[in-house]
Symmetry: C2
Subunit: 161 residues, 2 copies
């Protein structure tokens, strides 16, 4: 599946709309219009344009992991042995395919991957480490950071203005 994504120019109206949608996308276009001094149809056209360009990637509900029994959030730094392109790609695909891996970044620095993992119990995490890290010949080592407090969570992008 191809992600539609091409560059478009965003003016201050677009940014103002994004600022609202990224906080609450159920805000009526009418209300958005009042907030940014635009008519509702104008707001709608701009939203559609940003969706088509891939600026707006999705509309989703944010769920409290604790209330659905996935109480534990864990950070993992992963260091690999070989960094050849195909081995890195394989690792990316494997990490990304695991539902418990909520986020995965390929990074520079003292580690190669940083993962955010969400699991119901520590033993579930232990099982995951066996499968994902100990079961992978190319993983040199990994470091675990268990979250005691999710101080700030979100995907909100800092927008100029």
């Amino acid at each position: 599946m191809s992600k539609a994504s091409f560059a478009i120019t965003l003016d201050s109206f677009d940014l103002a709309i994004l600022r609202i949608l990224q906080r609450d996308n159920s805000t009526p276009q009418r209300v958005i219009g009042e907030a940014v001094n635009l008519s509702a149809p104008a707001v709608q056209r701009r939203i559609r344009r940003m969706e088509e360009a891939g600026v707006i990637q999705a509309h989703v509900a944010i769920i409290d992991p604790i209330q659905v029994g996935q109480a534990i959030t864990i950070f993992v730094e992963v260091e690999v042995i070989s960094e050849t392109a195909d081995l890195i790609d394989a690792a990316k695909r494997e990490f990304a395919s695991v539902p418990e891996v909520q986020q995965c970044y390929y990074v520079t620095g003292e580690a190669d991957f940083v993962l955010v993992v969400v699991v119901p119990t520590m033993s579930a995490y232990e099982a995951l480490t066996r499968r994902l890290f100990f079961g992978n010949n190319n993983v040199k080592r990994f470091r675990t950071f268990v979250a005691m407090d999710r101080v700030k969570v979100g995907l909100a992008v800092p927008l100029p203005g």
Copy 2:
């Protein structure tokens, strides 16, 4: 403002609804109903109930950071000097208040905080480190991991079933 959050029991219908909403919350209730074998009003009531209980925390648009000029995602591990309750609370509040800090977790392990930072340029990041880390007496040291690839991004919680 207080976030309403109290425990409720979720059945398999609720989980099925959540699975859909966390992927696309613009899905019509009619369509959700067909997918889970429930009428639209029943779906509506269950969604409202989960919103009121705090299971559903928000409805948001996901924005591509690159297309809005915030091209750089960075992981930061922060280690503090003193871990007294009030100093930790102060750090939590300071980190959480910064727009560029997209996510902040208080963790166990070799670091005390893990941050996900989104900035337009490396010099913006450098300025942020001066303000947030070098300008804070209680920060012992911090380690930076610059994301070369956002392999998997989201807040989707793994749901049983």
